[in-house]
Amino acid sequence: MTFRRTWAVARKESIHVIRDPRALGVSIALPLVLLLLFGYALTLDVDHVPLLLWDQSQTPESRDLGARFTGSPYFDLVAAADSYGDIEDALDHNRALMALVIPVDFGRRVASGRPAEVQVISDGSDANTATIAANYAEAIVQRYSAGLKVKLARRTGTLPPRPPLEVSPRVWFNTDMESMNFIVPGLIAIIMMLIAALLTSLTVAKEWETGTMEQLISTPVRSSEVVIGKLFPYVAVGALDMVLAVLAGRYLFHVPLRGSLLALAAMSMIYLVGALSMGMLISIVTRNQLLASQVAFMATFLPAFLLSGFMFDISNMPKALQLITYLIPARYFVALLRGLYLKGAGPSDLYGEGLFLLAFSVGMVALALKKFKKRLV
């Protein structure tokens, strides 16, 4: 491998990249668009649940309970209902996700210290959101009920009974329980995998399609010089994408980076080279631009999205699937980024995943080099 020839390839490939402003624009804008799209769409926090309130009781007690719902950030009152027909109509037309029904005798029962019931109706078609919203509702009702007990105890002059067991929850690392802080680092890993593979998936295939490859392989240029030389400009574009993604995470999603920036840069570079080489390998094997970009999309996005631990927790997967996740490079990068972002992990915490990532990158470069043949067939 000579520097002169590698440089000649890198230079001409850079000119291709610069001379195609539309493709360059897409490769810089696409990661940001995806990050914004998924970042905002994938919020796992449920708040501002549209709520319908049917207060049949119309007493100070029922209004107090209603106010606890409407005053919380989790619920927004959309309307007052007068009948079950109203509720059904609102749920059917997605105007509300939940309805709170306070029965006629609620005020009386509460005032006299007798047990009272309220009804919560939720739209179960989105089971996840419905469950979370129902939990919020239950928590509000329970707190209200605890307050009542204290009042009642004061009135009768006895101490309220202490619960036998109490949990005092403490959350480490993501203290605000902001799902963004958890989603954004994983999302960056997924998006970079996709973008990097797409960036290089066309480069070799295009030269086969236009015929320039036939000319190139008739020269003394070595396979390694073509593959390594071609990687250069895409490493630069990929690194720029990574920087933009990290900046967007910091300033648009307000996700703090607790770990070292240097470690982040180093790990990203290893990951990037691996993913770019994977795209190149696909391009080398398919020799067809359309096929290459489709394969690159399928081979990176879906596995990274589903099997990296980004969407679904790996430890909850069936054993066989868990084994497959070891083959998904995004798995390591998702873990690394979350470690760096949320825990401020240092080098000693990273090297396990880092080594797997390095193995992936070295393997991909080696495969691309092996598969690139200076022969027509």
């Binding site: 002169r4 230079r11 291709h16 036939e214 008739s218 067939v377």
Partner: protein
């Protein structure tokens, strides 16, 4: 096969040698055992219809395809075992224009200059030579894709000659180029051969074939004739050719093709070429058959290369047909 006429060439230093060179793609025999020697500084033309195996042969010689069997030597290097070394000593122009269209003329030259590792002190001179040779002195900063076809071809040739290779392979270099540009391209080929570069060129333009020192006719993967254009036209053609000029040549063709004693009739421009073993005897027959046409001329002509080619191929197909009959 014109072996005897090659004798004088054999004594000269051979630059490209093919020895029973064969390429099969599955059951299909693309090149079926071609043996041939091309001398240093010779312009050797490979002539044949599409799919005859011209490109496949050139690609094997350039190290782009591995031969199924047989061997070949280019500039003293074995194409089977030293393919990558061969690539240092050849220039190659593929059928399709294959420089980078989004690069400027100079950027293309610089790229190949880097790939061929032209030494620093010669780089500028070689670049100037290519620009001058291709007539692109004031077009250095032009995007290559914007050049007319003829100019692109000259630039391709320049890039293929950048490292001064002793052997040059040109695969239909002038396809899609206008006749004037074709002529000037051949001037460049003559100049190159004059400097001692061996040139191996494929073409399907008959008039270009006349420019070659020697020709090989290739048909269905086999070399069916080798010789200078003169030899091919003189000795190799056992049949004689009549030029017939008449009205409604299309109908006349059908009429003549049915006559016994006529091997082949083909349309050449507005004339008909009639291939026959005995021209003298057939002339009255032709005139009789075309009694209802307005006949301007029936004369014996010396065969063109195309006549030769058609005649050799027809003879071959007849022989093969006869063999098949016997086997049955």
């Amino acid at each position: 096969m014109g072996q005897g006429s090659d004798q004088k060439q054999m004594t000269r230093e051979a630059s490209v040698i093919l020895d029973r060179l064969t390429k099969r793609f599955g059951d299909f025999v693309a090149v079926g055992g071609i043996s041939l020697e091309v001398a240093r500084g010779e312009i050797f033309g490979f002539l044949g219809p599409n799919g005859a195996g011209k490109s496949t042969t050139i690609r094997m010689l350039c190290g782009l395809l591995s031969p199924t069997s047989g061997t070949g030597t280019v500039a003293g290097l074995d194409i089977g075992t030293q393919a990558e070394k061969v690539k240092q000593h050849i220039g190659y122009m593929s059928q399709k224009f294959s420089l980078y269209e989004d690069l400027t003329v100079e950027e293309n030259i610089d790229f190949f200059s880097g790939i061929y590792r032209i030494p620093g002190d010669k780089k500028a001179a070689r670049k100037a030579w290519v620009l001058q040779m291709a007539g692109l002195l004031d077009k250095g900063k032009t995007r290559t894709g914007l050049l007319p076809a003829g100019w692109k071809q000259r630039l391709s040739l320049g890039c293929a000659l950048l490292h001064e290779p002793p052997v040059l392979f040109l695969d239909e270099p002038t396809s899609g180029v206008d006749p004037a540009s074709r002529r000037s391209f051949w001037d460049l080929i003559y100049d190159t051969a004059g400097r001692g570069v061996t040139i191996f060129v494929t073409t399907h333009y008959m008039e270009e074939a006349e420019y070659c020192d020697r020709l090989g006719l290739i048909y269905r993967g086999e070399l069916v004739a080798v010789g200078t254009p003169g030899e091919l036209k003189g000795h190799l053609m056992s049949d004689q050719v009549l030029r017939v000029s008449c009205s409604s040549p299309q109908e006349a063709l059908e009429r003549l093709a049915a006559l016994p004693g006529i091997r082949d009739v083909a349309l050449f421009g507005r004339d008909l070429h009639v291939v026959t073993p005995d021209a003298e005897a057939i002339v009255p027959e032709v005139r009789k058959a075309l009694a209802s046409f307005q006949v301007d001329a029936v004369e014996r002509i010396s065969p063109s290369l195309e006549d030769v080619f058609v005649s050799i191929i027809e003879a071959r197909d007849r022989a093969e047909g006869a063999q098949r009959e016997v086997r049955r």
